[in-house]
Symmetry: C3
């Protein structure tokens, strides 16, 4: 999967300017992940400057993790301006489904026309599907493989965006095709999962990495590349660290160390049309 | 102290949902500490969704470290709703005594009826005691062992909550009994103290851990368990790291690694009625 | 450079109270850097308490990295109150030049009379110079050594403050003299630069460290000491870590480990009137 290795090299060469309007818990985490990868993050959310920053950015990451009125207003402004300018936006609907506010805001942002990728876990994308009025009975947030594939495809069609449902198998769809990023061998997977669940903001990191790739690739490829990069880096980090504090540190190290060739091989082995 | 080991195992088995309305400086730190321990943190402070989150949470952590009007409003809403539902709240009155605003807000939150545990250092709990109008001459924030014990007992009575005054010896009282969590041998204590003082937000971490235990135990036990867990994890971390950056990383590792048996033994050796 | 070693020892002995009104991305980072060095940070930005905190602080750090209306209001209040009380303020004009809002707010803060040190990179100080109406043709933010020296001198004169332009060579001027903090040997410099660029908030850390030194030294010396401390700590950290996650951890370790003698020697070798 040569394009995958080249996408990573492009990020490093072109250092896309990624404007992040993201939650307070992970601002530092995602900025550091983007820098480690080789992109140039800007973290800013003031309604007064958000449009000007979008104009200069290569891509925009919108994450509703700790939203309030002012944040929501900034995110709407940013998405609308990005839409006008044709700048790609990734939306991370953190906690959609957990409160009505989040489901509503996420759906509204998705409807504004600027969002090119939506990445969430099974529950979040389910909530988005429910809110959009095309599904029923979304009463569980328990990951289900067949349903995750279907969700990615359906929400991608409804939202006219690439949708990534991350979980045991990650599904990415542009509304036409669906791709799976498959887990590693069970022993590796178990070890990695145990650590990834014990560090905050790693879903947000995946979205931020997709934001970096949106600066150099089309939405479908950017979503696959962001997920693949995170997965490979976490697997490498989990080889060197057995506990969450150390794992977190090694994750940044590996976002920096990852090479295009290794990522291309990862893609060949683990990414499949599904 | 079997219940202590079992409390840790319960947190890991039941993964209590801990809703944190906390300060911007430590959001990432306390979320990672809760995840490392095995709890499920939610970090959210928007007045629009705070009540809905309280309804779904097992416990609530309210920390006034970087308060402003909107935060204060959210914290009041959360404490009132938790009180109505009987969900336990821990209040961390960060910086009470340092500004009039903080003393006032902390006292007000403590008076709303939902707070089950208050944890602060000597100066913070002293300020709370002064504000409540039952003490005089609280003109020093220098830790004093006999006074710390008395403070815990008195503020617990006044506030009808469990109060923990953390310091060299930590005192926890429910207004009837007082328990001390004693320091280790001087050489260990000195080494740990030197490092704990050089990392931000570790008091807030203790409060967050108490929040996790509030999801599975009564307030008195939760306070003791949170403090004991932090102390044991820091002592273990300080065995492996001599400087604050590395110590901080190892602290998360040890919150994850700690075993129920070791915590139970720690309790037998170091927790005493005082 | 004996005073430099003594300044570090003074920070450790006197633990100056440094009040930080800083951006959300780096709050945790700069608080930890200040604690590792030996200072006492307070992070607080509520307009309601900001003046009271300034009254008790030894120095104030004002950083516009994620400003909004409420933050701007707090920063203005803090700078004015510090000016009245003669408490030293350092201003970090993060992103000045990147948006009109930031350039305007930074210039306004610089004009209020309380700011004793301004530290920024070449682009930020250039923007400030442009806004002040005394320069022309500031159309590039690419570091230029001769221009950096001139900028430091000129903006120091215009703003009646010590100005530090950090870059390959760091220039510090009080409007009369200019000092250079010179890079190490190329092989060291390249290694350090590669890592420093991959961790967020390290410019903010330099400003925070200057804030700590402002609690014990005059503005010119505080600016030199803050920069020298950061440079030496990063060089040491880069000897022990090859990747950004690990480097970041080691940086805190070295801020704690640095000794006065080593810093004095660093000053003798690397700080020159320029």
């Amino acid at each position: 999967m040569d394009w995958l290795g080249k996408a990573l090299e492009s990020v490093r060469a072109r250092k896309p300017l990624v404007h992040n309007i993201t939650n307070f818990v992970v601002m530092n985490t995602t900025a550091n992940a983007l820098l480690a990868l080789g992109a140039s993050p800007i973290m800013a959310h003031s309604p007064e400057e958000v449009e000007e920053l979008v104009e200069n950015a290569d891509s925009v990451v919108v994450n509703i993790g700790t939203l309030d009125e002012s944040f929501t207003y900034s995110m709407i402004k940013a998405v609308l301006r990005a839409g006008e300018l044709g700048k790609p936006v990734i939306l991370d609907p953190v906690g959609a489904g957990a409160t009505r506010l989040r489901t509503r805001v996420a759906s509204h942002l998705a409807s504004l026309g600027g969002v090119r990728v939506i990445r969430g876990n099974f529950g979040e994308i389910s909530a988005l599907a429910g809110e959009l009025g095309r599904t029923r009975g979304v009463d569980t947030a328990t990951y289900d493989e067949a349903r995750a594939r279907e969700l990615a495809l359906m929400v991608a069609r409804n939202c006219k965006a690439v949708v990534a449902v991350t979980g045991k198998v990650d599904y990415v769809s542009d509304g036409v095709k669906v791709y799976a990023i498959n887990p590693g061998p069970p022993s590796v997977e178990e070890r990695v999962e145990k650590l990834v669940r014990r560090v905050t903001g790693l879903g947000c990191v995946v979205s931020a990495l997709i934001g970096a790739y949106l600066g150099v690739e089309n939405p479908l490829r950017a979503a696959i590349a962001g997920i693949a990069t995170f997965k490979l880096a976490s697997e490498k980090a989990a080889e060197e660290a057995s506990y969450p504090g150390s794992f977190h540190v090694k994750l940044y190290d590996w976002l920096y160390r990852l090479e295009g060739d290794a990522l291309a091989r990862f893609g060949e082995e683990r990414v499949r049309e599904a």
